[in-house]
Symmetry: C2
Subunit: 392 residues, 2 copies
């Protein structure tokens, strides 16, 4: 059985529905993947994540390598057993995080957010790999394609991502080109490591880089396809704004449509509501993003309100006496228990973690519902209508 | 129907089982009452608290008065509806917290813990009430027996506590005596307020003070009984160590046994495992305490290990590779999902709030199980054996 099977295609876009088969169950795509960065979806039990309809979570090689260490997770039988998660696991390679330390702000650029990259720093980027200081204890550490693959094997991931350099936006075309080529060489090393260390069934996704340059993106897409990787992830700097991001993503999915339409495609770290809709239209199968859970911890609920970027800032003063639930007919634990915006306002203002948790459950419910609607729409041949309805 | 009905008595101690009837259901006693200080049991949904077997939670007048304000909770139909809790609510009067601001450390003395009382302070203690600065915004506020009663009415509490001065340990006998007398006068004012403001059914508990002086404790117990309050709470400084605390509590329950055995008794802010066992033997019906939930947030699980004060500090290095669950045959979400001490160690070390939440659920499960065993033992006439077994 192939690892990815396309079940329906949209006539008017590159969108498709499919099923990724893993040793830990199937994932109906297009799907959003919640973050379990350090081995836990913040504040939410694994069983609750499953109950919300999610079939895969994302663990983070960089964070788990530093604490508790890949060998500790392996001691407990892998990340699934460690965190009590019966579904599938995709693991980030660590590339994005380690380069965020050095490029200082690459994450901010790419994701449009602010905030520090911790106290760690890059010591040296070499062909062999990257030396960096741990943001936890300042100790010097090293990560390479082989180490990333070894740790992801210790995690027991169902989908492993290639170790790449996440090229930032502010560098030259020349740097982007040479960095992308090194990412391709690192991909080959990762493939070799996996050949030499056969383990349980897992899928290996190469990562497309190439900055905002069409020819580099196309070449990188071709290189990843040529490597024979089972899947393709799109990463790196995706541009200065959303329109450019969609254009950059589209260069890759257009090329993939031509060369390897049957391979699953993951879009790294992108997941605002409009991005999910557009990403599906562009032919993306899976998405991961901190947005729904991070917004929740900061007092913001996702709601069907495109004019406000699908956001309801429940911690705003206007919601102090607001008796409405976050959303009518929402099946999440907060809305179905009849909790008001005013109560969630109070919890957010009081710094009660119950508030962030209830908003997290609501936001993950909202995104799960959105993805289900998009899958249904593709299946029923009415994606354009559904996307229009979702956006207005 | 009386508000409290005794269903069984232990032959060898003052222990009894009973049922407190409220407008929001019955509470089987002896019972532990989890804290929902600011309108939420930290990190745990109201439905989860109920699923653990709890029938009452404690809301805090002081905290809810300051934020969101009693009128806001009333706007939402009371604390039950505000927080989506179908069970009963007992509310602290605010006395303990406001006096903790001024006496600076009374909470620490009484509960044997350390840590600040926030940035608030007492401005003046007068016969009329207490002027203080809010620890939230520094604004000057006032609380009195009438205000405490009014706020507790806004909360819609099923059991309201009298506004008292929580006499600290380091004051003179003379201060303790005059403070206790003022607490009795404040009790009368609270009773009068309730007479003038009849509301939905609720029980009013007077609070016994009197420091560590037997005659003052006995007098205070008599005064509370004479007031006609439906229930009796024991508060204030309970001594320098556990033996003195049990002695002080025993003076009151001995007197209550003589004067008003049929009234329900609450022990304020005490709830370590040995205290719960001993408290039941001393004839206490309900307990509230931050201990099980606070320990959880600090990486400690409650387990059947009296030699270690029933504590398992899962954040200790020795549990890094520990594959055992917190406890065998424990029905809590962490243990029943097969999560290891090593995983909870990792979450605690990583500061992941999922860890504190899972430990909170475990600890509340442990305490609920303990109270159920104590109730069964009283009912079956074998409390002495059961207490012996629990302590060894």
């Amino acid at each position: 059985m192939p690892a990815f099977r396309i079940t329906a295609r949209d006539a008017g876009s590159r969108a498709r529905t499919g099923v990724i088969s893993t040793a830990h169950g199937n994932i109906a795509t297009p799907a959003f993947v919640p973050l379990a960065t350090k081995g836990s979806v913040r504040g939410v039990a694994a069983a609750e994540v499953a109950a919300l309809g999610y079939e895969m979570v994302l663990g983070n090689t960089f964070h788990l390598l530093l604490r508790p260490g890949g060998e500790v997770v392996e001691h407990f039988g892998g990340l699934h057993r460690f965190m009590g998660w019966d579904g599938a696991v995709i693991s980030d390679s660590g590339g994005f995080q380690v380069f965020s330390l050095g490029h200082g702000g690459v994450a901010d650029e790419i994701k449009g957010r602010r905030g520090g990259a911790g106290e760690g720093s890059i010591v040296a980027i070499e062909e062999e790999g990257v030396r960096f200081r741990s943001p936890i204890d300042g100790s010097q550490r090293f990560i390479s394609p082989e180490i990333s693959m070894a740790v992801q094997a210790q995690l027991g991931s169902d989908i492993v991502l290639a170790f790449d350099e996440c090229t930032p936006f502010h560098v030259t075309r020349e740097y982007t080109a040479s960095s992308t080529e090194r990412t391709h060489r690192w991909l080959e090393r990762g493939i070799r490591w996996r050949e030499e260390h056969p383990g349980p069934q897992s899928l290996h996704y190469g990562i497309v880089q190439g900055g905002v340059y069409e020819d580099l993106r196309v070449e990188s897409t071709q290189a990843v396809v040529a490597s024979g990787c089972e899947g393709v992830a799109i990463g790196g700097s995706l541009g200065a704004d959303k329109e450019q991001m969609y254009e950059v993503v589209g260069w890759s999915t257009r090329e993939l449509e031509r060369l390897a339409p049957e391979r699953p495609r993951h879009l790294l770290g992108i997941g605002e509501i409009d991005d999910l809709i557009r990403g599906v239209e562009l032919g993306i199968d899976t998405f991961d993003c901190a947005m729904p859970t991070r917004l929740a911890r900061h007092g913001t609920a996702l709601v069907a309100d495109p004019a406000n970027r699908w956001r309801l800032q429940v911690d705003r003063p206007r919601h102090r006496l607001d008796e409405e639930p976050l959303a009518e007919d929402c099946p999440c634990p907060a809305c179905s228990a009849g909790l008001s915006r005013g109560y969630l306002h109070h919890l957010a203002r009081s710094g009660e973690q119950s508030g962030g948790r209830l908003l997290t459950l609501h936001n993950l419910t909202f995104v799960a519902g959105l993805m289900a609607r998009l899958r249904d729409a593709v299946r029923l041949g009415r994606l354009a209508d559904e996307a229009e309805r979702l956006r207005s």
